[in-house]
């Protein structure tokens, strides 16, 4: 039986959406296991493969050049890409430094330079094509389920 190949990825954020995902699993673990193959899910497994992903769920905003590169790699290896949570959808609140005044920007500049940060923090859609959004901080559970079910049907898993 075909399963939906899913990846969960986390960028600059508090990982609250991953936590919501784990909470959703409380009632759904065995049901999801029947229809979902978790190809990439660092929070739950160490052997992760970034290849042939049907749907990539991505939380967090993009703050560094490395993250930008990784996001593009995820996009290349995934048929659909879903932004989950406010940071991924519109950048906030992980993008606070974008709104710092010049004084505060000066204070943090050496950290930004040292760890390869981009000039500004961006939501996913500024860098790659995003197929669906699940807004909210943390992400709205019902909306996530709705998007997941949509792709389970689209990929003819259910």
């Amino acid at each position: 039986m075909k399963k939906l190949n899913v990846g969960l990825f986390s960028f600059t954020s508090d990982e609250g959406c991953s936590m919501i995902f784990l909470e959703l699993m409380n009632d759904r673990f065995f049901d999801w296991k029947k229809v979902i193959d978790f190809k990439y899910f660092k929070l739950m497994k160490s052997k992760n493969i970034l290849k042939d992903i049907d749907v990539a769920f991505v939380e967090g905003a993009i703050s560094t050049y490395n993250e930008e590169k990784k996001l593009k790699l995820i996009r290349k290896n995934s048929k659909k890409l879903v932004a989950i949570g406010s940071c991924a959808v519109d950048g906030s609140p992980s993008n606070q430094r974008n709104f710092f005044d010049e004084g505060m920007k000066g204070e943090i500049k050496f950290i930004l330079d040292k760890f390869g940060h981009r000039e500004k923090v961006s939501p996913l859609s500024e860098i790659v094509k995003v197929d669906s959004n699940v807004p909210g901080c943390p992400m709205i559970e019902e909306k996530f389920i709705e998007v997941l079910n949509k792709y389970l049907k689209e990929f003819k898993v259910v």
């Binding site: 600059t12 954020s13 990982e15 899910f41 739950m44 160490s46 430094r97 050496f110």
Partner: protein, 425 residues
Amino acid sequence: MHKDLDISIENLSKIEGHANLDIKVRKGKVEYVKLKISENKRFYTQAIRGKVFNTVPQLVSRICGTCSIAHLTCCMEAVEKALDIEHSDQTTLLRKLMTYGMMIRDHAMHLYLFCLPDIFGKDSVLDFDEKQHELIHHAFEIKKAGNDLSTLIGGRAIHPFYSQLGQFTHLPDKNETKKVIDELKRVRSYVFEIVKIFYDSQFSFRKRTDFVALTTNDFSFLDGVIKSSIGVSIPEDYYWDHLHRVIIPYSQATGFEFEGREYMVGALARINLNREKLHRETKKDLAKYIRIFPSENIFYNNLAQAVEIMHCIDHSIEILESKDFKKEPKIEIKIKEGKGVGVIEAPRGTLYYAISLDKNGKILYGNLVIPTAQNQIKTERDIRTLVSQNLDKDKHYIQHEIEKLIRAYDPCMTCATHFLKVNWI
């Protein structure tokens, strides 16, 4: 015996947040161990400056998804002290309950989803076979009970909104309370098994160390005195004076020493220092397991967490069954200049917030100290010792042992990267 060995782990798995590890061994000697916390800074300590006091607790809640309740509650304590806001006993009880819900959920996630696979020699709970399915049911039911408890009190389990400065804006519904009590009673029976599993586990790593924790009279994580295993006792307000910040150039987080030495915070520290204050039912039913503390075995941090789950369940049931929560008058807040310190025990250890307000109630500065940052130096040194002791083993074995040890510390990299004054050399 490895004379030369390089280990590089990109993106450690089954921990909260992002970290990498580099180890270099030359001529049979460990040259360096670098635990690189690679979680990107989100500059909360800078971002809160100039913001109005009552918006800040909800904002810093976003520092961490899994322990948002700890950040929210600790920051509120600091702001309340800065403004001399007194809260009622009822508010204290509700905060305890909300915190218990977080502890139950967070510890259960760590023990079942992150650590249990190591015990069974599997990569993930996703790979568990039928024999272990019952444990998966337990895992998710305990997590759910914790989640439902926090939701009952705070409105939701992550970034709850009923908990405000000085009071709760909403009281728990009677019918829902009954349901949560039943749920807690049901999952209580599951806790025995997970306690036994981590008690029986042969995983061991012992090293002399100082343990530090906020010790509370009823083991409720919120108000008390900071103690250490070498006998130091400090009021909350002065914790900062005993810490020494250590810059770790390759990590996005800052390390700390307590009184000039490496130390450990977290469940193991709490149980080592304060186990006699656990709930009487917990002490009665888990006496055999609690007896092995104090312990310097880092892997018993897992056992300590399992014991704490039981305590949180027992104390929550007692409070929910005996208290009738009533609507209280609205707290009046007078804005003024002031400073306040909040210290609580987050799931992973002692959390410190200092907040300074100007006369308009705007934040002049905020400072915070995160549990994982406090454990960073000890974790790194322990990895070094572990590698030195195992140079005769193969690389995969060493790597796996390191990962198990790091997981026992239950680090949260998402939290770890927040600190105000950072001067990278």
